[in-house]
Structures are given as C-alpha cells and as structure tokens.
Subunit: 342 residues, 4 copies
C-alpha cells in the first residue's frame, strides 16, 4: 500500500483527494495536514466524511515523514519549499498548485511576482498531463499537476494541433467553471446570493492559467501559440467546460477520425459521437474528459467542446492518475468512477 | 459473481442501481430492460454511462433468464406479475415499487385502487428495511425495498419508539425531497423554470407513503401509530430530509445515548454529535443515514432530523444492501461510498 | 413627497427598500448611509442599481437630518440609540431589526443579552404587522417592523387562533427560508458550494424569532401560546414558507370560510382555493402572503401553509406598508407589484 | 389607455408581457388568448398572477377585436395569418416570433422551411431593435420584435461595427441563455434533474438566430458579416449573456469612449466602467442591456460582453418599448424597472 500524505487537506482539492484515496485499492492515507485546522478532525470540517475519515489534521512535517508520496494543495509560492523538503526526504511530490507548471522563469515572475525559489527543482519537475506526458511522468519524483482549465483545453485541442487539423493562430477559448474552482475561502463572488442565478466572465484575458495553456498548446503545435482565453463562473458546483474556436479547413468527419484515433487507447478521454455536445454533468465525479466536435462550415471553423470535472480530472483525479503512473500501477486504479446520471 | 438483472433500468432508481452494480466486487450486470427504450443502449439514454455501461436494453424475459436476482423499478401494479415470473423461475426478486410493501390488502386497495394480484406472494414478501428486518431478509426471495420517505422516517424514529422515549401519539413529520424523487418523467412541477427557486408542499397529508410509514412505526411502537406526514419538493436533485416532532419527556442526553446504542453496530446509520444538524448534502451519493437529535424543552418535544440520499439508501443502495444480505455477503459490499464534500 | 432615509442601506433589507422607494409615487430617497461603505456609491456595491440609484453613502446624522422617515437595518442593539435620535429630531422611525419587537424586557434580555436602552421608547413603539395592528400603526412614530418568520406565521395562524378553529396548544411550525435571510455577510453556511444542493435545519427550537412568534400568537389566542419552531435554510434566494400543524376539529370548509372572511379586504393576503398549496415562488418580489389550508382528517389536524417574500412582506415591503399607513397613504401605494411567473 | 391584446398569452413571453402591462400607466390589458387553455383563467395557469390578473383566456378573434395593439407569442409560421388579420382590422401588430424578422425570403425558407405567406406584409414589417431602428419604428404598424440572442449581440457590437473599431471578419460569439429561453413546454433538456448542475452548448453553429444576427451586423458594418455563433444553456432561469470576440487594433480607452458616446442618450443601455464585467443577474427583471469592454492585447482582440434579461429586453420589455414608440409615448413608460439586488 502506498502511504499517501496530503498537505493542505482541507482545501477543496485536498478533501476530494481524500475521497479518492479512500476508494483506492493500493493506497492509503498516512497523515493529512492543515494550517488552519491543525488538531481538528477532518470530519469536523467536512461532516460528509464522518465515519469515512475521522483523521486528525497534523503538521506538514508529520505528513512528510509518514508518507511515500506527498500531495500539496497550497497557495502559490508555498509548494516550492515543501517540494524541497520532500525531495530531500526521498519522497514523491505531486503539486496541485502552479509553482512548478511553467517552464519559463520569466513567465512565472510576470504572473506570480517572484522568481523560482529552487531553480534546480524546476529542472526535474514534470508537467503531469498524463495523456500527453505519460513517458516523462513514469520516472518522475516531482510532478506539477496541471490546472483545471489547462487540462480541459489541452486535451480538447491536442489532436487538432498535433495533426495540423486547425490553424495555430487565432484560437478563441471560452471556458466556464463551477464554483468549486474558487475554493473553500469565502468571497463575495461565491456568496450564495451573489452567484445563484448569476453568470459572468471574470479575469477576462487576464487569467493566470493563460501562460500554462499557451505553453502546452505551443508544444503541441510546434510553434508559438497565442490564445484568447476568457473564463466564466457558473452557478453550479462542479465541472469545467471549454468551447474552443479554431480556424480549420478539414471536414468534420476527418477531424472526428483523427480525434478517435488520437485517444483510442485512453481510458479517461471520450470523443463523443458526432451530433452530441459535451455536457459537464456527464463527467461529474469522474476522471473523464468528454470531447465533442462541431463544424461551422460557413465561417470555416472547427469547434471543440471539452468537459471535465474540475475537482477530479482537473485536480485530485489527475493527481491520483499521476501517482499511479509513478508507482507503476495501472492508470485506472482507484479511478474507475461512474458519473451519476443526476 | 451474482448475475444482476434490472427491469425498468432507465428510470432513476434503475440507472442509479447500474452505477452501484458497476462498482460492486461480487456482482455484475447480466441484462437490463426498458419498455420505452428497448433496443437502444442505456448510454444513449444517459450519456453519463458512455464507456462505463453501453449495454443494450432488452426484454423483461431476457432479463429474468439471465439473472440470479432481478430488481424492478416499475409503475405500481406491474411488479406483481413480474415477481410471480421470477418466483416461478427460481430467481430472487427485489422490488423498488410499492406492490409488496403493505401487509394489509385493504390498505393497499385504499391507496392503490386494486386488490393483491397474487395473495400468496404477499405472504412470502419481506419488507426490506435492512437495519430493522435483517433476520427476515436473510432467507427471503421476494423483497419489498422500502420507500424513500419511509426509510428516512423509520430509521429516524425507531430508537425512540422502540425504547419508549417519546409518545406514539401526535407525531408530526415534515419531509423534504429532492426532485429525483419525482423521477425522469416530464411534468410541469419538475420543469426547470417551475422548480428552480421554488418550494412548496405537495400531497399534503395525502401521500401514498403514509400507510407504509404508519405500518412500520406501529410495529416499532407496539401500538397503532397515526402520523401527520407532509412532503415538500426541494429545488435540488438528491436527498430526503425528515424533521420529526414527537412529544417526549426524556432529556436530550438520554435520547442521544439510546440512539447511539441502538445503532452502534450499524455501518449505514450515523447519529450525529449533539449540537450538529443533519444536512442532506452530507449523505449524497452514499447509503448513509444521518440522524440528529434536538430538544425543545419549553414545548416538551424531542425533534429528530433524518437525512438520506433518496436514490441510494432510499432506493438503489438499500436494494443492494438487501441483495448482499440475501446472498450472504457482508452488508457493506459495494456500498463503501464516500460522500463528496461538495 | 415623503423624504425617505435609510441607515444601513447596503444590507439586503436596505437595498431592497431602495428598490421599492424608487418605484413609490409619493416617496423619494433623501439620503442613505452605511458604516462599511461610507463615501462610496451604492451602485458600486450593487451594480444592479447602476443608473437607477447612484447615491453616495453618507453618515447616519446626514440621513436623519434630510428625512421625514428613517428606516434602519442594523445589527441588534444599534437601533435603540438611533430611534432616540430620530424621536428627538421629530422624525418617524421604522426599524427592520429586533430591538423594539418584544414587549417583555426580560424576554429581550434572555434572547439578546441586554436590557432595554430607553424603556420609554419601548412604550411608544408599535409592532407593525399591518394586517393585525393597523389601527395602532396609524398614529405611531416608532415602528418595529416584524421579523420575516413571525410575519409568515402570524398571518398564517391569525384567523385560526382568533376564531378558535384550532387548539392554542401543541402547535408545530416548520419553516424554510431562502438565503437572503442570512444577509450579505459572508459565512460558511451561505458559501455557494456549501448551500447549493444542500438543505438542513438550523437553530432547532432555539431561534430568536421564537419569542416574537409566541408574543404575537398569544395575543391572537388570548392565552399563552407555546410553539415548537424549527427554521431550515433553502438553496434559493428569496422567500419564506411555513408549514404549521395545529390540532383542530373543524372541517376544512369551515376553516376556509373563516380564513376568506378574515382576509376579505386585505390586498396583501390571498387565501388560495382549496386544493392548491402555497409556493414561495408565487409571492416573490411582491408584498403578498399566500396561505393554503389542508386537513389531515385521520390525525385531527388543520395544516396551514403560508408563503411570503422574506425581503418584501418579510422586510422592506411591510416597512413601506407601515410608512403608507403612518403617512395616510393608501396601503398599496408603491406596492402593487406583480410576481414574475418565473 | 392603449388597449393591449395578447395572443399566446400563456407562453413565457406572453405572461411576462402581462406583468409589464399591469404596471404600465398608459396601457391596459384588453383580452388575452391561448389555444391550450381557452376558457381558463390565466391565474390558474400561473398562480403568481392570482389577484393581479384573473382574466379568462379567450379566442384570438376576440383579442383582435378588443385591442389597439396585438402582441403575439406563437410558434413560427402562425404569426403571418394573424398579422394579416390585424392589418385588415387596422390594429398594430407586434410579433415575438421569427416570422417577420428576416428580410430575405430565401434565408427564411432555408431556416424555417417555408416561403413567406404574405410577401406584401414583409415589406411593411419593421425590425424593432429600438436603439438602432427607432425612426423606422415610429410609423410602423407591423413590428418584428427581435430575438433574444440577436438583441444582446447587436447592441453589444453596434458601436464597434458602426465605428470600425473592429474587423467585420472573424467574429466569434459565445452566448449563454437561461432556461426560460426554451419556454414553458416540457422537454428532457429542461427537466429539472437534467439541467440543474449541468451546462452544455446546443445547436452549435446551427441556431436559427444566426441569420438574424448576421442580417443585423451586416447592416451595421456596411458589409456582409459572417459570425460563428454558439449558444449554451445555463442552469438558471433568466438572462442572456454574450461574450463576443473581435479582431481589433484600437485601444480599450478608445473603444470605451466610442461606446459611451454611441449610447449616451439611451436609457436602456449601460456601458459599464472599465474593469467591470457584465453579469446577467444585474439586468434581471429590467429592460436594461449591460455592456462591458475588455481587451486582449496579446492576441489583438476587443472582447465585448453584453447581458440582457431574455424575457424583458429580449422579449416582452422590448415589445413594450416598441409599443411606446409607435404610440408616441416616452420610451421608458412602464419600463422604469429596477433590478433586484438578489
């Protein structure tokens, strides 16, 4: 059994990971920590866990010591010293945050306001988008779990960009996320009476996931890709859906075949039959990504819609998938989740 | 592996059962049927099942033949002939409907407008509220899976009535259900724009679950119990919560101890610490029942709040629990579900 | 034109009052104040008001000076000195809070932890449940606007208690409120991901509105009334519905006639035709109270369901109704609101 | 008083119009009709109207006879004969449907499958997007009220296209609508359990509003405009928001000034301060359109977000605005609605 530790366990990513690990046949929770709730039981914070996990929240140090792999869900900047400590202690480290996602230090500095703490760690860090970087992940000890928006977007556009089915220029990405993406912290935006029956974009063309998206798409396209990315906040809890607009001359059938082939052996990516549209509810509670393809013939566009559960494939589920790869388990171990029909 | 067949698989109870059976280590789906969708794949009706279950819906006869146990989710009246066929074929039959829940034929006739079709089957039918009827269920071949409201209510009041902690007279039950309780069929009441941001009671003191509730509570109390039962429809999908008002002289601490003792070995019933209130979201997607106890000293009442997921403990989950008992498996097999924190 | 000032204008009650005053033909906003947002425009806090009301939030003193009537929506305890200042300045004062609702100082101290600040003011304060206290309100200068729960409950039970249609003993009140009742302040309970798809009771048999409810019902019944009152929080924004269980021997038709007669001249109370159930969505955005009557013959109960918009009839609308009475206007002035059908 | 008749009054557009007319100082309901509910009171269909409007639904002929202006909310194809009857009877006719929106008969035939019934009526029909066609509307007797998506889109892009602030090529429009847009008819898509917590696009690049959008934008741009238009269905009731992506070289400040100037005298269009993003909840229940401007400098795009209430500015409100213009009333008469803050 892999001993799994979680630092920042009371955040939404952390508590979702607990749920997944409790159902994982080859892993068990070792210790979990939280700065805000140290000394309390996790089930006092989340009564949904009563009886299922009543572990007491301890310190970060205890987590590291007790674990084979440490997952961290921390505010940006805080993962770097923790990663250092894990590497020094010979542990595997999987980070839910952004600290190790960007290869370019200057991009990181632009968006996060500080240079890298330990440049040598960034050299060994692997970007853990499993379907696209499986081989790199196998030998990794420090993994940057991708962001939720970037996961939905890269999976959605990878077959098109890799196969030259669309132009790498002029891509527009209109994404919509459930409120769990904003986390457990209170804010006016996620106050019930503010969000319920409301809908708006936020951080228009200014979201921190933009450089991560462009980094990933550029690799896929083999050229510098610049996108317009606008996230919106949905009045629901879970899920991200991205509607992506590309310039393309290929027929829908050609695109569909290429997508099916690209993902034919992937257990977590489903290319929906032509005529269907991806809906985020159909992937909720699972590690699945649903992709639907559409063509606007009169405007010459291929439109790709990609839906994931932001807390599973966009966070805790993909983190478990990464762990499975690192520890040599079948990728689907503990992740054979079926979406509820409602 | 137990071969599991489902008749009426495209209803909400049926499709939730599919989800549970897919995760059950000792059971597998044999065949599933639906009158409305025969010949289609279940995943065409519920895209959430794409890749997880793409079985084609067949006829009722094929289901019976291929299965060790047949679950039925049918409109009332239709389960009786199916039960007969299953008994004749030597299969176990577990009914989601009301056909076999009432012991009194005259009560059945009053509420459902017809006499029993096969009175001899009603003699062997067992009412499958697992925590209260486990011994009867063990040898049963025909099980009436309890209704969702009656499950939440009987579990909530059993310790009080069994131990004489409250009066059997004057009980008021105010229940609230999510919209899945009304099923997949379209209706004005469950049209999104009618239900969203709305809330109302329905079938006030006239709901068909009333005789089932009173039958169960009367057994527990050892005397005829008459309740006032008012259900309400919540603008959310899953869960039932019942707030139950009883006349009582015992202290909250005494009641709490009695409840804890009553359920001390029950994996699916949690008596919440005093001071907490049950919330239906904390049992969603699980077979759990959360019970909280409260005292209104100045009015001399013990108030019990009981929450379940109407589609799991109130339907498909309890049905699986019944199957586990019948087939000699540990009761929790396939039901160790953890509620999502959000 | 009546000059209307609002102290605490950025709270939910305050901003709803602004909306109503903007549509009132005989009143206009003079000045509005807020401690937290002084110096800002109200439309910066609520962009829904852009163009409709861009007034700058000023100090409490400026509000008093500029107004004929001052409405206050303040945390409990703070209305008493403000009322004093208004009385000294010869203004009418209408309080959204609880400071002047209870006649008994000892009850007030029990629930709010402090004695009355100005006992002489409590002697002139009038409890402003318009339908039941119209004559007292006419000459009043200091009005305690009733609480939202107490409004729905007293209107619902008044005809029954006044006419002896039910027992004054053993009344059970199960109420459900939308999230606006908890106000604009951030809390875990009203965090979107906590409340959405969730439902639970709170402050079970311990809510501060209990003494106000019992004070009102006792007057109606002419004897001391003790109720069991349990509020619940709904995952929606507006509205309160109370399901009230009484012991009664009268027929439904008799009760219905008495209710219709009791409210025959009331523009804001509608007794629904027998067979219908009150739904809070049908009174949203209006000053209406919908009442439906139901009988549980087998348990000997009359069940009354009463629905209001907690922010209108339960707060700002009733406050305007009080103002209309005090200033000699037709009660419906500025309150002829039609509920949206969706 | 203008005598207002409504044909198809029980549809969502019709019942919202009733609400507006009830608050209109210079208009009153004459007669209302419905094929499905003829002979019933409208308040039996919509209990929100009890006491406010208990009119009985009559025949179409009675409506025409009793009215100065007839509004119709009918399935496409049915408005043309009704318009003919109204013209013959000397009435003003305002159509909520699509029958008279497209100037090109071949476009109409392509999207609606039939030629024009009365080509001469199409010559006198005026497209009633008030802010852009006010002068034409003044003398009109047959008005095609614009579609909800086209209203939000044309208002959002008009200043940019008119002033050449963006390219007329390559525009991408990602729209999201509340469920009222799908109307009162039951459908699986708008079944509560299907839509709640779900989100998906529909009719991707194939929505019937596309030719109406392109017709309008082409006029504004002075050249043929081809757009990519993808609508999505939101799990909420009211509102449409369109996020529109244009290629542009002008600075945000320049665009902002041009937008402010373009709409400086428009009571129903608000250009939000730079830095804010339009949110559909802030225009709910009003005839307002909120527009926010954003720039993606690195991709060279001007992004325009436009929000309206689909049932008011997108249907009944704009219809009243058209009526006001035709009858020489100030445009805001009966439309000075303030959005609720929650």
């Amino acid at each position: 059994m892999i001993q799994v530790g979680i630092v920042g366990a009371t955040g939404y990513g952390g508590v979702e990971l607990i749920r997944l690990i409790l159902g994982h046949p080859n892993a068990k929770l070792s210790k979990i920590s939280s700065v805000s709730f140290e000394g309390k039981r996790i089930s006092e914070v989340y009564p949904s866990l009563i009886g299922a996990c009543d572990d007491v929240l301890v310190s970060q140090e205890e987590v590291i010591k007790a674990s084979d792999v440490v997952f961290a869900a921390l505010p940006h900047g805080l993962s770097q010293p923790l990663a250092k400590a894990c590497m020094d202690a010979g542990k595997v480290f999987i980070d839910f945050g952004a600290d190790f996602r960007l290869e370019s230090e200057s991009e990181y500095e632009t968006w996060y306001g500080a240079p890298f703490d330990y440049p040598e760690l960034h050299k060994i860090a692997v970007y853990g988008l499993c379907e696209l970087a499986r081989e790199n992940i196998k030998g990794a000890r420090l993994i940057a779990n991708p962001g939720c928006y970037p996961t939905s977007i890269q999976l959605g556009l990878a077959p098109a960009l890799k196969n030259g089915l669309c132009s790498a220029k002029g891509i527009v990405i209109d994404s919509k996320s459930g409120a769990t993406g904003a986390g457990r912290s209170l804010s006016q935006t996620t106050h019930f009476c503010d969000l319920d029956e409301g809908f708006a974009p936020y951080k228009v063309a200014a979201h921190r996931h933009t450089p991560e998206i462009e980094q990933g798409l550029s690799k896929l396209a083999g050229e510098k890709v610049t996108v317009t990315f606008v996230p919106h906040l949905l009045p629901l809890k879970r899920g991200i859906i991205s509607t992506m607009y590309t310039e393309s001359n290929v027929s829908l059938e050609t695109a569909y075949e290429a997508y099916c082939k690209f993902y034919e052996n992937e257990p977590f990516v489903t290319v929906l039959p032509l005529g269907m549209a991806a809906n985020l509810k159909n992937v909720c509670m699972t590690n699945q990504c649903h992709i639907s393809l559409h063509r606007d013939e009169h405007a010459g566009r291929l439109i790709v819609v990609s839906a994931i559960d932001n807390m599973v494939k966009g966070a805790a589920g993909q983190a478990v998938q990464n762990m499975n790869i690192v520890f040599g388990l079948p990728e689907t171990t503990g992740l054979t989740l079926v979406a509820p029909a409602f």
